[in-house]
Point group: C2
Chain length 195, copies 2
Amino acid sequence: MRELKEKIMSEGIVLSEHVLKVDSFLNHQMDPVLMKKIGEAFAEKFRDKKITKVITIESSGIGPALMTAYELGVPLIFARKRKSLTLNSDLYISKVYSFTKQEESEITISRKFIDCSDSVLIIDDFLANGQAALGLIDMIQQAKAQVVGIGIVIEKAFQDGGRILRERGIKVESLAQIASLSDGKVRFVEEALAK
Amino acid sequence: MRELKEKIMSEGIVLSEHVLKVDSFLNHQMDPVLMKKIGEAFAEKFRDKKITKVITIESSGIGPALMTAYELGVPLIFARKRKSLTLNSDLYISKVYSFTKQEESEITISRKFIDCSDSVLIIDDFLANGQAALGLIDMIQQAKAQVVGIGIVIEKAFQDGGRILRERGIKVESLAQIASLSDGKVRFVEEALAK
């Protein structure tokens, strides 16, 4: 997606070989027009899949996922990162390890919002090791619902997540695929292939 | 806002005299069409205020705030509930006590995203004791930016937050004002006045 890659090139900050900071338009400050275009792009890629629910994890996934759900005309569910006092019964629960935060958290979805009749599209802001996506897939499978695909805003293609998910036969669509963050520079997968 | 009140009446669950659960369309599952209408309603109420930024707190505020920011054509910033490894320098910091979760958390906004030239609209899903809004106001004032108003999806008018904020001279616009949750029933402020 051209607008997204341009935004990454102009505003993304390479913090290390593994960490790209995009807090000016996605992870802390959000560009609503770009989020809308991201939602349209995902809806376009998955429109033929008869999706009934979009699912993401709080917090940075909510923006792109909400815009996608709006375009597809279905509800969005955002998995909670831990139980709150008002959401404590009848939950699907899975564990997710965050390498960025170096901690394991529990993610939960209320059982009443997915069931075996659902066809679910997962949306998330980043795909790195795939831990978050695997946790969401685990809960969707607990509900006996179908995972019809995964839409990722920025895939760090040099990490394992994309391969693991695609080897499971899941359709993964990433709007920007980063081949490398070496030397403080963002290289997209297309550039790598063009060499 | 009629659609919102109808949704609260049909899907809201009164858990106690103080707690209304709206996780089927706002706090866990989100209705994107309703979020869009909420965004349009807030934009309408604050369109003459020359707003430059919309600010909320993760997570449930992000949906309504993103749609509002989209309508107003300005960026959204969501305050983080604690420091993450990739957002650790140059932060505005404030403390917020959550009566629902019975815990104090630190909320943060990166200094690079607000400054003295900003006119900020705060958007949040609930207003109860006003702690979250006061924390956001504190950070906006640290930035020497101007708070031009607060848009609340559901105000629990029987708690103190609305009064505290309005006594400070802040324009607070709530799309639904709840007068009472007694006897397991939602009563809106308009109904109370009509008696």
